[in-house]
Subunit: 327 residues, 2 copies
C-alpha cells in the first residue's frame, strides 16, 4: 500500500547479540551444527543444521528469555518474572527465573496440555490459567504483572529477547563460516529478527529467508503489504508458528532485514520430521522442522550454495509424534 | 565349570585402537557426547552419552568395518570385500568398500526387510540372499568369498574390527576425561571388547559393564560358566543383540576385560528409547538404547560417579518406532 520507509520501533544490533552471547555463555547450551551428505544431495547445497532442539528446555526460546531476565535488576529479580505462553517460552522463562534465583508466574490457557503445565511447574514456576476464548493474554498478563509487581518478559516483542534469539545464528556462522543464505522458522518473528541481525551483521551479503506454514502466512502477507496484516487463526500442525499477526517490533525489524518468506504445507513439514528422524537421528517438533522442510521441498528460490538452517525445537512426545506422522 | 586361565585367541591392545583411530580419522564421524541434567538426576551419576547413532550408516559398525577394510592390500581391494549381515554391519561394509574404491558383496537372509536391502544396495553393494532357516551364514559367506576371491570382513570376530569399534570409547574418554565406569551394549561382543581395551588401557581403574537383553544373556551366562554357552535364539526387540552365543575371539577378550553384565527387559529398553526421544531429542534403535536402559532402570550395581554410556545406533524408521512404543 505504501512506499514510506519502515519505522523501526527499537533497534537491535550485532553488538546487542554479542552482548547476549556473553550473558548466556555457560548457561545456555552451545548447540551442535549437524552435517549430512544425504541432506546436501537432496537440497543441492551444503547445509549446516543448527540444532536448537538440543537447547535447554528443548528449543531456542531459552536464549532470549535468559538474556532478558539476566538484565533485570536485583530488585526486579527479587519480586519475580511473569510470562504468557502455552509453549516453549513458558518453560524458557521458568528456567531462566530459576537459574537467576528469581521466581516466575506463567499465564497459560486453561486447556494447555497437562504435560506442558507440568514441565513448566517442574522448573519451579507458578501456573495461572485463563480462558483463551474469552480472555486477552496480553491484557491479563500485564494486569497480573502490575498487581504482583512482576516484570513481564514477552515471547518476542522485546529487544533483549530478540538479541538473545540471535545468538543461535551467531554461533551457527562462527562454526560454519561463510554462508550465502540462512533459513529460519517464523512464528512471532523474534528468532528471525535476531538471526537476521546477527547474520547480516557478520555477513553483509547473506540472504535471510523466513519460513511459515501455508496456513499462517501473516508475515509474508505483511511484508508484501508493507504493514502488519492479520490472518485467521492458522490451522496447522506447526503450533509454534500459529501466529495470526506479526509483532510490531519484530515486523519493523524484519521489514528491513528479511529477504523473503517461503511457505510449507503440513505434509512437507511431516516429511521433514521423518527425514530428521530417519536420516539425521534427531527429534523435531513441527515448527522446529519447518525451515528444514522448505529446503527439502525446494521452496527456497535461488538455491544457495552454502546455507544455514535453524531447527528451532524438539518438544514433542512420542505419542503426538506418532499421531502426526502415522495419524 | 573350570578355573583354567582364559585363552586369548588374538590380542587387541590400546595401541591397536589408537592406530584404528588414525585410520578412520576424517572418514568416520567423531560423534558428539551428550549431557543431560535430567539423565544425571535419574541415574544418580554424571553421565556422558556417546552418540553412535550419529555415526555414518547410523551405528558404530562403520568404525570396525572401515578399519578392517582399510588394512587390506590393493590387490584385495581390487577383488572386493564380502560380509554376512542383515543389520548395520551390512551397510558398514558396503560404505567402507565404496570409500576405499573397492566393491562389496553382502550375504543377507531372504526375509531381510526391503528397506535394509535397499540401504545396503544404495551404497553400491551387491546383495546375495540365503534362507536363514536352512543355511549357515558363516559357511555360505566363506564359500562365496572363496569362490569369488573376496576378502570376508566378519561382524566381530576379527582383531581389526574390534580395534575399530574401540575408537568409540577412545573418543568418549578423550572428551569426558576420567570415568569410573563404562556401560556398553553387547551383541556379538565386538563393541565391548574394543571399548574395554581402549577404556582400561587409558583408565586402569575403569569398570566395564556390558548390557544384554534379558532374553539374550549368552555373554552373561558364558562369563559365569567360564566358557561359551549357547542360549535359544533370543526373542527381543533388540534385534542387534539377538546373538545366541558369544564369538570365540570376543569372548576370550571379554573374559579378561569385562567386569559384569547387566540385563534389561524389552520394556526397560522401550522406556529408554522414549527417554532418549523426549529428553535427549535423539533417535535410538532398541539395541542402541539398551545400555542407557540399564542406567535409567538402575541395573548397574555400585552406581558409578562419572559414567560413560554408548548409544550404539539409531537405525529405525518412524513406523517401526511407533510399533515398538505404541504397539
Amino acid at each position: 500500500m505504501t512506499d514510506s520507509p519502515p519505522v523501526t520501533l527499537a533497534d537491535v544490533t550485532l553488538a546487542d547479540v554479542r552482548d547476549a552471547a556473553a550473558r548466556i555463555k555457560g548457561v545456555a547450551h552451545r548447540t551442535p551444527v549437524l552435517r549430512s551428505r544425504t541432506l546436501d544431495a537432496l537440497a543441492g547445497a551444503e547445509v549446516f543444521v543448527k540444532c536448537e532442539n538440543f537447547q535447554r528446555i528443548g528449543a531456542f526460546k531459552f536464549r532470549g528469555a535468559y538474556n532478558a531476565a539476566s538484565r533485570l535488576s536485583a530488585a526486579q529479580l527479587a519480586k519475580g518474572i511473569a510470562a504468557y505462553s502455552s509453549g516453549n517460552h513458558a518453560q524458557a522463562v521458568a528456567l531462566a527465573a530459576r537459574e537467576l534465583g528469581s521466581s516466575a508466574v506463567i499465564l497459560m490457557p486453561e486447556d494447555t496440555p497437562r504435560s506442558k503445565k507440568e514441565a513448566t511447574a517442574g522448573y519451579g514456576a507458578e501456573i495461572v490459567t485463563y480462558d483463551r476464548y474469552t480472555g486477552d493474554r496480553v491484557a491479563i498478563g500485564e494486569a497480573l504483572a502490575a498487581d504482583r509487581g512482576l516484570t513481564l518478559i514477552p515471547p518476542y516483542e522485546h529487544p533483549d529477547v530478540i538479541a538473545g534469539q540471535g545468538t543461535a545464528a551467531l554461533e551457527l556462522i562462527e562454526e560454519a563460516g561463510d554462508l550465502d543464505a540462512l533459513v529460519v522458522p517464523v512464528g512471532g518473528g523474534g528468532l528471525i529478527a535476531g538471526s537476521a541481525t546477527a547474520g547480516k551483521g557478520l555477513l553483509p551479503g547473506l540472504r535471510v529467508i523466513g519460513v511459515e506454514p501455508e496456513a499462517g502466512d501473516d508475515t509474508r502477507r505483511s511484508l508484501e503489504a508493507g504493514r502488519r496484516v492479520p490472518v485467521p487463526v492458522p490451522r496447522t500442525i506447526a503450533d509454534g508458528q500459529a501466529a495470526d499477526i506479526p509483532g510490531a517490533l519484530t515486523f519493523s525489524l524484519n521489514q528491513r532485514l528479511v529477504d523473503g518468506i517461503a511457505l510449507v504445507s503440513d505434509d512437507q513439514i511431516r516429511d521433514a520430521m521423518r527425514f530428521a528422524f530417519e536420516r539425521l537421528k534427531i527429534v523435531t517438533e513441527p515448527s522446529g522442522a519447518s525451515a528444514l522442510a522448505a529446503l527439502l521441498s525446494h521452496r527456497v528460490d535461488r538455491v544457495p550454495r552454502r546455507v544455514g538452517v535453524i531447527v528451532s525445537g524438539g518438544n514433542i512426545d512420542t505419542r503426538r509424534f506418532t499421531e502426526i506422522l502415522h495419524g
